[in-house]
């Protein structure tokens, strides 16, 4: 066993255990945190495959942004386990079918003989100065520029529609115009009233 194999098995073990924890944990916050751990370890495994841009982007996008929002929502939910269990038997056939499909797919892929992985040559070793990021950027903006731009536009449409679906103006909410706030001067808001001094009446 070489050192990189040792590192691979180390991270793979953590990844599998944390992924198991995600689906077995009873507390949704714990499950979300284990998912974060799973993302981080899979980033480390991608790093072993010399895909440093993808690895760092996985941490940046999924751990740094997506899971933070996810955790944000999960923390505020009031989850009642008894009510969640109610639908267990009615969902079981559909869930079982999906699970069986997934297992079958994994067996076909991991079995190797059917996918023909043993015929595939390993990637050639890359020179030390090879920049994954630069190469990816060059490909995305030259060869695959149309698919990339179309994907970007689809994402933009998704953002706009998500905002349009949830945006609702409440009539009673008071809108504050920052420009008017900044423009306000003390002379417009405060009126200083001069009163003559009155003597207290002697008794």
């Amino acid at each position: 066993m070489t050192f990189s194999e040792f590192v691979f098995y180390f991270f793979a073990a953590i990844l599998v255990l944390s992924a198991l924890g995600v689906i077995t944990s009873r507390n949704p916050v714990h499950a979300a945190l284990l998912l974060v751990l799973a993302f981080c370890t899979s980033a480390a495994i991608w790093m072993l495959l010399q895909a440093e841009f993808l690895a760092i982007t996985l941490v940046l996008v999924y751990v740094g942004a997506v899971m933070v929002l996810f955790l944000f929502v999960v923390m505020m939910l009031d989850i009642n386990m008894a009510r969640l269990r109610e639908g267990f038997w009615s969902y079981l056939p559909l869930g079982g079918l999906v699970a069986a499909l997934l297992v079958a797919e994994m067996v076909i892929v991991l079995g190797g003989r059917y996918a023909g992985f043993h015929d595939m040559p390993g990637p050639p070793p890359l020179p030390a100065g090879y920049s994954n990021t630069k190469e990816l950027g060059r490909l995305v903006y030259t060869e695959y520029v149309y698919p990339f731009e179309i994907a970007a536009v689809i994402l933009l449409v998704a953002i706009v529609s998500a905002i349009a679906l949830t945006l609702r103006r409440r009539k009673e909410s008071k809108y504050i115009d920052p420009a008017r706030q900044v423009a306000a001067r003390a002379s417009e808001r405060v009126r200083i009233v001069k009163m003559p001094v009155e003597k207290k009446e002697q008794e």
């Binding site: 050192f3 740094g64 933070v68 923390m75 990021t133």
Partner: protein, 381 residues
């Protein structure tokens, strides 16, 4: 100088050889290089983290002193080393550290115990891990990786977990409110910060932090640095940095007058101290990144021609000292902001992040891209 140091260097080499032989004997020939690399890296990490922790401790003293002077007070001036009067105040961080170390850590009832202990660790880990790619001088860098800027972004984006988990695990409404506020704030300002970094990498043509500094070199001193072509982005980065570290005037996550101490209201003793250390370490990190990306890192601010003219050519040479000076000035400006501005209202913070900084940075990316295509861009190497 070198003759004096020679015996020490020889002793060091001899000890290192001894260690290498011992490692080969313990783990075998095959694993020895990897284990030696791990030991070497760990030693280098200690060499970075130990001075950093010292800097953090004395930054707290500098903050209290500086804000004291700004408010016409003296600041801490009692605790001293060995009773020497003119060192008055200098031992304050040591005394504070000792006090926090010996205090009891109270775990609230109904809290999630494991996460309660884990939260401070998750807050400080990213603050320290990001230092791996920071170039202190042309040679002094722990990991000279190509995607350094991306790495820093990815690591610092994980800092918010410590705060969220602390707020949730504490089983306290104040702590939870603080965590919610800070999570929303940090996610909003991370976007502006990310786009600011995109501008920097466009100008520098590289994600490697050392190359970003080298791109600002050119004999022009401080006129060659990126703060001139990227001035709006420099300001956006600095202000977003203040918001990211939850410092005043963006300190709604702590908000003493509103929610007591926010996310760390239930923490005591060393657990609280670690949140404190993480905040200050993050502050130093943001200042270092600003110095590297916009203020030329280790480069000298003196133009080469000027240094020649006054007969002091060594002034134009870049070294670690210049980075320290820049870092100190930027960190001090964080303290200056705290002493100057009242706290922002929450909706104003959100407006600034989403409606001002985000459009501004996106527009500047377009402007910068167009500018770089014209002969007016004079920062090419």
């Amino acid at each position: 100088m070198s003759t004096l140091l020679a015996p020490i260097v020889n002793l060091g080499n001899w000890l290192w050889g001894l260690l290498a032989a011992a490692v080969v004997w313990v783990v075998g020939q095959e694993f020895a290089p990897a284990v030696m690399l791990t030991i070497e890296t760990l030693l280098l990490i200690v060499c970075i983290v130990a001075p950093l922790m010292g800097a953090v401790a004395y930054l707290t003293l500098w903050e209290r002193k500086l804000i004291g002077w700004m408010q016409i007070r003296i600041g801490p001036n009692r605790v001293t080393f060995f009773g020497i009067p003119w060192l008055g105040g200098l031992a304050q961080p040591v005394a504070d550290g000792l006090k926090l170390l010996v205090k009891e850590i109270i775990v609230p009832t109904g809290s999630s115990k494991l996460l309660f202990i884990l939260a401070p660790i998750m807050a400080i880990t990213p603050a320290l891990a990001a230092w791996a790619v920071v170039p202190f001088s042309p040679e002094l860098i722990l990991a000279n990786i190509d995607a350094g800027l991306l790495y820093v972004m990815a690591i610092t984006s994980m800092g918010v977990y410590g705060i969220i988990i602390a707020g949730w695990a504490s089983n306290s409404k104040y702590a939870f409110l603080g965590a919610m506020r800070s999570a929303a704030q940090m996610v909003s300002y991370e976007l502006a910060m990310g786009f600011a970094l995109v501008c920097v990498l466009m100008a520098a043509q590289s994600l490697n932090l050392g190359d970003i500094v080298r791109m600002q070199e050119g004999g022009w001193g401080f006129l060659g640095w990126f703060w001139i072509p990227l001035f709006p982005i420099f300001l956006v980065y600095l202000i977003s940095g203040v918001a990211e570290t939850n410092r005043a005037p963006f300190d709604v996550a702590e908000g003493e007058s509103e929610i007591v101490a926010g996310f760390h209201v239930e923490y005591s003793g060393m657990a609280f101290a670690i949140f404190f250390l993480a905040e200050y370490a993050n502050m130093i990190l943001i200042s270092t990144m600003a110095s590297i990306m916009f203020l030329g890192g280790w480069l000298s601010p003196v133009p080469a021609a000027l240094a020649e003219a006054i007969g002091l050519p060594w002034l134009a040479a870049g070294n670690f000292g210049w980075l320290l000076v820049k870092l100190f000035l930027v960190v001090s400006s964080f303290l200056w902001f705290r002493a100057t501005f009242p706290r922002y209202r929450y909706d104003q913070i959100m407006r600034l992040g989403w409606k001002v900084f985000l459009p501004l940075t996106i527009a500047y990316i377009v402007v910068l891209g167009a500018w770089m295509q014209t002969p007016l861009w004079i920062w090419w190497k």
